[in-house]
């Protein structure tokens, strides 16, 4: 295939993938919703979970976005240095979003700042977001695709603490955000926590944490223990589905961490809503692909 045809092909695949993830939840999220639906026992939570399950069936059947807030599209790219379309990728991802916006259809969610107008195309200056990791000596390309809606984006927060505040400070920071903003982010939530050296390094990690599969743990034993403690702590707030009260407020807590400056602890929180529309697709150099997050895909 020549380059132009390859670019068109990849654009089409990604446009289809973006539309798809807006309509069908990933396997791990679907399984978690079913699990929590069983575990909650108040009549109102049962009704809410039943509505959620019915909504997903209808979305697939009628081929419509399951939530009207199809978010700002964010892509986390792990691109091999030998992947043939490494140069064209960022441009074609933007095209793919424009295409998917028309076809799915997606909501127009790009408002240019300062001039304050909706672009009407769901892309704008710097949107979709594209994060890059470069993988040496590989000819593959992995792309995480995420719909960052308003509800789950609003609670985002990052700060730098003094090390004297300790991991208790980290916990307090996370819980302060969850007790105030958690309700409006459409629980049950996936909570991403970044622990790093500065505000932006922690923030990026907190979003990366949301890309991990449910049930995964940080490799560090203490971090994994803190993931569990935070999960129990946030569940104890008793938000339940939609914040209408219940035993479970979160689907999981994921911590991603790096080393830090001796004088600082950067901490960040980022959440995913119950309709956690993230997808993971891997392309080889000939554009054969595997979707790891959705078995139907």
């Amino acid at each position: 295939m020549d380059k132009k045809a390859q670019v068109e092909q990849l654009t089409t695949y990604m446009a289809n993938f973006v539309s798809y993830i807006g309509k069908v939840l990933p396997d791990d999220i679907k399984a978690k919703i079913d699990e929590l639906a069983e575990k909650e026992d108040s009549p109102l939570s049962k009704v809410i979970y039943q509505t959620m399950q019915k909504n997903q069936v209808l979305a697939k059947e009628l081929n419509r976005p399951s939530c009207q807030d199809t978010g700002v599209l964010q892509f986390w790219v792990k691109c091999g240095t030998n992947f043939p379309l490494i140069g064209e990728l960022e441009g074609l991802l933007k095209e793919a979003v424009v295409k998917a916006t028309f076809e799915a259809p997606l909501r127009h969610n790009s408002v240019e700042t300062f001039d304050e107008y909706n672009t009407g195309k769901n892309v704008g200056k710097g949107t979709p977001t594209v994060f890059w990791d470069i993988v040496p000596d590989s000819d593959q390309c992995e792309i995480y695709t995420y719909m960052a809606g308003g509800g789950c984006t609003l609670p985002g927060k990052a700060m730098v603490l003094m090390p004297g505040e300790g991991y208790e400070g980290v916990t307090k920071f996370v819980l302060d955000v969850m007790t105030s903003y958690g309700l409006n982010a459409c629980p049950p939530l996936l909570v991403g926590v970044g622990v790093a050296t500065s505000v932006e390094t922690a923030a990026l990690l907190s979003k990366k944490a949301l890309m991990r599969p449910l049930g995964s743990h940080n490799e560090n034993e203490r971090a994994a223990s803190m993931e569990k403690l935070l999960e129990d702590g946030i569940n104890a707030i008793g938000l339940g589905p939609q914040g209408m009260g219940g035993k479970y407020s979160v689907m999981g807590v994921h911590i991603e961490n790096t080393a830090r400056h001796p004088s600082t602890i950067g901490v960040a929180v980022n959440v995913g809503c119950w309709s956690h529309r993230r997808g993971h697709i891997v392309f080889d150099k000939d554009l054969n692909y595997t979707i790891t997050t959705h078995s139907g895909g």
Binding site: K54, A59, R107
Partner: protein, 163 residues
């Protein structure tokens, strides 16, 4: 109008203050009739800029929502997907909004506070929530979009009146 059918409390617009008296916190209710999506900018235009709403929502319902709509022929639209947004963003304006517009049912997400509570008591209105992210369930209940105003605001902020 409020009727109770098979144990379900069903409101049909036009709704009077009297109709709301038998509805209590914690009830699940159903709605028939006219509902208009109305969120951030529409609230600011009415309350801060003193502009008249291009839609009459008196004795009807508003939905804090930014829908996905698809254009059909004859300047009509299809409701593809619609669900509630965070109502707290409208809290600042809601007292004035209820006072000026005469709306009776405010549907949203996550709850509201004292301004809205005061407006509900004083003018006869209720605030209720629809479970968020269930946008196809809600969209399939919309029979028709009868009007789409203030389209200059872009899709999420356009006032769509659903019947």
């Amino acid at each position: 109008m409020l009727e109770i059918k098979d144990g379900k409390k069903i409101l049909t617009t036009p709704v009077s203050a009297e109709d709301l008296k038998d509805i209590h916190a914690g009830d699940i209710i159903y709605l028939n009739g006219s509902m208009t999506t109305c969120r951030d900018v529409a609230h600011r235009r009415l309350v801060e800029e003193g502009r008249e709403l291009p839609v009459d929502v008196k004795d009807a319902a508003i939905f804090h929502a930014g829908p996905i709509i698809r254009p059909l022929e004859n300047d009509k639209f299809e409701m593809v997907s619609v669900g509630p947004t965070t109502s707290m963003r409208m809290e600042k304006f809601e007292y004035e909004f209820v006072k000026e517009s005469g709306v009776r049912v405010i549907i949203g997400k996550g709850g509201m506070k004292e301004n809205t509570e005061r407006a509900c008591k004083e003018f006869g209105a209720i605030h209720c929530v629809f479970p968020a992210g269930n946008a196809v369930v809600a969209a399939t209940e919309v029979e028709e979009i009868v009007d789409a105003q203030w389209r200059d605001l872009g899709m999420p902020e356009t006032l769509c009146t659903a019947a």
